[in-house]
């Protein structure tokens, strides 16, 4: 394919992915808006008012970046995993496989579809948070960079999950049993300074901790970890997951006999 044709194929995949999650907005955009509003109201306002300050900010201000990131992570991941698995399930993935679209374009297209949903939900949650608190923005560039890289990483993770998934249960296992615990234990609701030394060390093995803290640093200017380590870790995960996802596509794992 010529470069211009590759661009058309890439654009087509992204447009189709965006059309998919906007068409089913009550399933994709509305639930995180409601859930996060409840988090803001209950944890931020009601309970947070009694907790006092954390990291030099009100509890509400402290948890907002983490909750935004939590929404971005779960939505970018589940967008790709459910979309690609559905395409596998109803065999419509064959439309792409019989076409000359290169595998790296397929992978990139689905990934950016996931990023689009992650960012869209992230924006909705951010706007909702403004009804509850004031958000300073310490470092706009870092904030955008971290949220985009995180969305890319988890979209790629969702793609790998979908490749291996054989049933809809397989698509929900990783978010439920791995992603959610990692996110909750990734410093969304607390600073790891509150933990005993041992659990602080264990928390340092959680990649989500780095992303949440880097994002919080971009908005509030406080972090439990070195932000540059966060960028390195996310970048390494992206390279590894992209290479792995591409390898699986080239092999035809789960999509070719």
């Amino acid at each position: 394919m010529k470069n211009s044709e590759i661009w058309v194929a890439f654009y087509t995949i992204i447009v189709r992915e965006i059309r998919r999650f906007t068409r089913i907005w009550p399933q994709t955009l509305l639930p995180p808006a409601i859930t996060m509003s409840l988090y803001f109201a209950i944890f931020g306002n009601l309970i947070g008012g009694r907790i006092g300050e954390m990291g030099g900010f009100s509890y509400m201000q402290y948890i907002v970046p983490g909750l935004i990131m939590m929404a971005v992570i779960t939505n970018s991941y589940s967008n790709v995993s459910s979309s690609f698995f559905s395409a596998k399930f109803q065999h419509s993935v064959q439309e792409l496989l019989v076409s000359p679209t290169p595998n790296w374009v397929i992978l990139l297209g689905y990934t950016l579809g996931g990023v689009a949903r992650g960012l869209c939900v992230g924006l909705i949650v951010t706007l909702l948070s403004l009804f509850f608190t004031h958000l300073a923005l310490e470092n706009l560039f870092l904030t955008i960079l971290v949220v985009c890289l995180t969305a890319v990483m988890f979209s790629l993770g969702g793609f790998v999950n979908a490749i291996y998934a054989r049933s809809f249960d397989d698509v929900s296992i990783v978010p439920t049993f791995i992603l959610t615990p990692l996110t909750y234990l990734g410093g969304v609701f607390y600073s790891i300074d509150l933990l005993p030394d041992f659990w602080q060390s264990v928390s340092m093995l959680n990649p989500v901790l780095y992303m949440v803290n880097a994002f919080r640093y971009g908005i509030l200017g406080v972090s439990d970890i070195n932000v540059y380590w966060a960028l390195v870790i996310v970048s390494v995960f992206i390279v590894v997951l992209f290479s792995f996802g591409l390898r699986l596509l080239n092999q035809g794992k789960g999509i070719r006999s």
Binding site: M1, A9, S92, V98, S99
Partner: protein
Amino acid sequence: MTYAIEISDLKKRYEGGFEALKGIDLKVEKGDFFALLGPNGAGKSTTIGVLCSLVNKTSGSVSIFGNDIDKDFAKAKQFLGVVPQEFNFNVFETVFNVVVTQAGFYGITRAVAEKRAEKYLKQLDLWDKKDSQSRMLSGGMKRRLMIARALIHEPEVLILDEPTAGVDIELRRSMWEFIKKLNEQGTTIILTTHYLEEAEQLCRNIAIISAGEIVENTSVKALLKTLNQETFILDLDSNLPDNWSLPGFNVAVSKDATTLEVEVVKGQSINAIFKALDDISINVVSMRNKSNRLEELFVKLIKG
């Protein structure tokens, strides 16, 4: 000579050890109307799957318009349009979007794709359904949608895997008229079907695959010439007398004695049948083959 499809020593062994293709060789000329026939599980869909990259081959070579799929599969795919046996479009997309999106995967711009989509959806009587979700279509409409989608990049070769399965007679006929026109305009057609009369009427060349091997690959005419015996059924205007016989022929008479079944060996004249009936003042009202000629050969070949 460059063939539309050239397959050499193609083998496919699935995980678990099942050998679906045992080294098949096949050549389809440009512009041909080619039938790939075989019983269920013979290897037809696996062969098509390899051609369109849905099945990884174990060994052998495949070229599409001279493009080896191991060297430049992307270019080879440009020549190919596939109408699979199972519905495989996104059922929540509209008819129009299914077709236009597929064009995008071939690098065709939206403006060109929309014009082509209108052309093919109109030709296949789906234009008034363009805004309907594809899941709302009837079975026949879904089949036509898959044909429109396969044609959107205007391929040189169109592969149809059981395209008329479950389609009513009227629609089947209109579908074949459409496919015949495409072939007349130069598109190479490869089809698999269980309706052997379709293959006999439409196709010029034929390959019969059985248990992963090509057991016959010739022209339909040449194949039919090898038929040694045909069975005809004659409907008569009155009852045959008891103990009536027809020397030189194997005959069977129905219970009501107005239907006669006669086996005619190749080279034997059927005039003698009419003469014998005329002698006893019985007229033949109608006459037909007991079964499709190709079907008789097909059964022999796959058993053979």
